[in-house]
């Protein structure tokens, strides 16, 4: 096996891209990948524990933590009451003592009632204490529109939370990335918001057998192309790949970049690509106004001003509350049709 084991020493783990590992892989679901990452880290380090609603006896509302109670016991897999503000704050206090909590929000939509601890305490503790206390904690859960969950349960919180300095925001698009990024998140000394998608938890993908960690701030180029750079993260990366297939048949060659983390943001990879394609489209599931997609577009304009043949087009969820109707919800999302239209316009092929 070519996978390089980290030997468990935190100061010098080996970070490798899953595709460079070689060796055997298995096809597993997104939820299995996250569970493997959490379980491996919990075996390695007793300070890591998981808490959240229904994570233990219920096996996780979305079965992400299935079987973990049986392996680690109730002291480390902890069912909490429906009390996000309380248990998020409690997890932060535990992190200040030196533990490494993984705090699950069944949905990131529910994190809004815990806004004070996750935005006022976790990301600011290090700064306000003048470097005395950081907050090594992972908050994770489902983000973005699920399947017809309506407006209150469909938040894309990266649109809100990426505005706050002091947090790292990870939004994986495939099982292999989910595993490698989750392991990195757990070992990170800063607060990490790990955004999964209910719609992707059942997605299958090839995941290496051996241990690997994926560094933050390193984008993955999912598809090589020459005419337009599609930049995205999380679930919409999959829409971008679908769109790229369609557009290829029309003679438009798209390069698809999966940012994987939006804080930190891997601008060098984006810039390198845009300098080649001279065209960029940003696809972001959050609403357009004050969004990370808007930020990325601004940065592309700044760094690639002379390279661009057109302004940066952006595809977002529509600027309305998330509708319930399946038909309306599909139209509301940054779907394949909208991405294709944006690329055609950006490349003057509309």
């Amino acid at each position: 096996m070519t996978a390089v084991l980290s030997s468990g020493v935190m100061s010098n783990p080996v970070f490798r891209e899953p595709e460079t590992l070689g060796g055997p892989t298995r096809e597993i679901e997104f939820r299995d990948a996250i569970r493997e990452a959490m379980s491996e880290e919990m075996r390695r380090d007793k300070r890591v524990f998981l808490l959240g609603e229904e994570v233990a006896q219920y096996d996780g509302a979305y079965k992400v933590s299935k079987g973990m109670l049986a392996e680690f016991g109730e002291r480390r897999i902890i069912d909490t009451p429906i009390s996000e503000s309380g248990f998020a704050g409690m997890a932060i206090g535990a992190a200040m003592i030196g533990l490494r909590p993984i705090c699950e929000f069944m949905s990131w939509s529910f994190s809004l009632v815990a806004a004070d601890p996750i935005l006022n305490n976790a990301p600011k503790m290090l700064y306000m204490s003048g470097g005395q206390w950081g907050c090594p904690i992972v908050f994770r859960g489902n983000d973005g529109a699920g399947g017809q969950l309506g407006s209150t349960h469909s938040w894309c919180v990266e649109g809100l939370y990426s505005n706050v300095p002091g947090v790292k925001i990870v939004i994986p698009s495939c099982p292999a990335d989910a595993k490698g990024l989750m392991k990195t998140a757990i070992r990170d000394d800063d607060p990490v918001f790990f955004l999964e998608s209910e719609r992707m938890l059942g997605n299958k993908g090839h995941v290496p057998e051996g241990e690997y960690l994926i560094p933050f701030g390193h984008a993955a180029v999912r598809r090589r192309g020459t005419d337009c750079t599609l930049c995205s993260w999380g679930r919409p990366v999959n829409f971008c790949l679908e769109a790229a297939e369609i557009l290829a048949k029309e003679g438009i060659s798209c390069e698809v970049i999966d940012l994987r983390t939006i804080r930190p943001l891997d601008m060098p990879t984006v810039i390198q690509s845009v300098r080649k394609t001279n065209c960029a489209v940003v696809v972001d599931q959050s609403w357009s106004f004050s969004s990370p997609g808007g930020e990325l577009a601004a940065l592309i304009h700044k760094h690639c001003f002379d390279d661009l043949d057109n302004f940066v087009y952006r595809v977002h969820s529509d600027d309305v509350p998330t509708p319930y109707s399946s038909k309306l919800e599909q139209e509301y999302l940054p779907n394949v049709r909208k991405i294709c239209e944006a690329v055609r316009a950006a490349t003057y092929r509309a």
């Binding site: 309380g86 409690m90 003592i97 290090l126 700064y127 204490s129 930190p264």
Partner: protein, 347 residues
């Protein structure tokens, strides 16, 4: 208590001289609470409190210099001038902040207790040995986060004592105007199965004695408690409060029950100290605070580079060759913090 009183008096002067900015909440009148409570605890017991935090910091062992310089916004401050009056952090003394949002520190207090218990029992395989003190004002009793914290503490058997410093006012609102069942605050703790106690926060010996007994019970049983700590805030909520919501007569009545004066009288009556000793203690407190102000005046302003430090422990994560050009205008970091505290805690 003398030190805190003297410190806060000079703090008010410094505020009026505009040496201290922002919001500033002084502790005058409540000194017996912080002093009695911290004296009853072990140094390894974590403490977390709200924004009226100078008294807790000094009682816990923070130097007057570090506390005052923090308010002056100077590098000599406990947080290098990045926290300010409301956010006093002192890692060597296990003071986990000063927190500015009313009630927000209570879930953190539950978490500190969760953390120490987990460390002692799950990681070290022993028995819980630390008790956390989480201070809050009577105004914070009405915050939802506090009820969530009490529920979690009761549910998970967390060794935490929620000490409600009941000075009768949440800012300018008298407790009966903002809090139901204000004649019996302990009922709030009782609802969550917390051991309850009412204490006289104007009597430092009573606080010490009662808190010591309660803390040892919490330590032995690994259970939470709720304290209705009756006290009085002599000054306004903050420096900008003219106290129009209460009478001068009421203030004088409480001030005649002063915790410092009472303790002195008691010590004198028992022949423990003499007038001379008191005078010399007061003189040394004056000198310490005078020195703290001089230190704070002379301590340098933070360098501009400090603006960008302590945002992340490692902005690009922990891996070799990871440094990247900063395209987002975000922060670099050279902080001293390591979450592992030098120990990897591997199993």
């Amino acid at each position: 208590m003398h030190l805190i009183r003297e410190f806060e008096v000079r703090c008010m002067q410094s505020y009026q001289e505009k040496k201290i900015g922002g919001f500033c909440h002084v502790y005058i009148g409540q000194e017996a609470v912080a002093v009695g409570c911290t004296a009853a605890m072990k140094h390894e017991d974590p403490i977390v409190t709200a924004y009226r935090d100078h008294g807790h910091a000094l009682a816990r062992g923070m130097t007057s210099r570090a506390c005052m310089a923090e308010m002056y916004g100077k590098v000599g401050g406990c947080a290098k001038g990045k926290g300010g009056s409301m956010h006093m952090f002192d890692r060597p003394n296990n003071l986990y902040g000063g927190h500015g949002i009313v009630g927000a520190q209570t879930p953190l207090g539950a978490g500190l207790a969760f953390g120490t218990k987990y460390e002692d029992e799950v990681i070290n395989g022993g028995k819980n040995r630390r008790v956390t003190l989480a201070f809050l004002g009577d105004g914070a009793v009405n915050q939802g986060a506090f009820y969530e914290a009490m529920n979690l503490a009761g549910l998970f058997d967390l060794p935490v004592i929620f000490i409600v410093e009941n000075n009768g006012y949440s800012m300018g609102t008298a407790i009966h105007r903002g809090t139901s069942m204000s004649h019996d605050l302990c009922i709030k703790g009782r609802a969550h199965g917390l051991k309850e106690a009412t204490m006289d926060g104007m009597d430092v010996l009573a606080v010490y004695h009662d808190m010591h007994e309660l803390a040892e019970w919490c330590r032995a049983n690994s259970r939470p408690a709720f304290v209705d700590m009756k006290c009085y805030r002599y000054k306004g909520h903050s420096m900008s409060d003219p106290r129009k919501y209460r009478t001068r007569e009421e203030e004088e009545r409480h001030e005649s029950n002063d915790p410092i004066g009472k303790y002195e009288q008691s010590l004198l009556a028992h022949g423990v100290i003499t007038d001379e000793t008191i005078k010399s203690i007061m003189a040394s407190c004056r000198e310490e605070v005078r020195d703290a102000i001089q230190f704070s005046n002379e301590s340098p302003e933070p360098p501009m580079s400090d603006l960008y430090t302590d945002v992340f422990v490692e902005p690009w994560g922990r891996f070799p060759g990871s440094s990247q050009p900063d395209f987002t205008g975000g922060a670099t970091n050279v902080c001293s913090f390591r979450a592992t505290n030098g120990k990897e805690g591997l199993v």
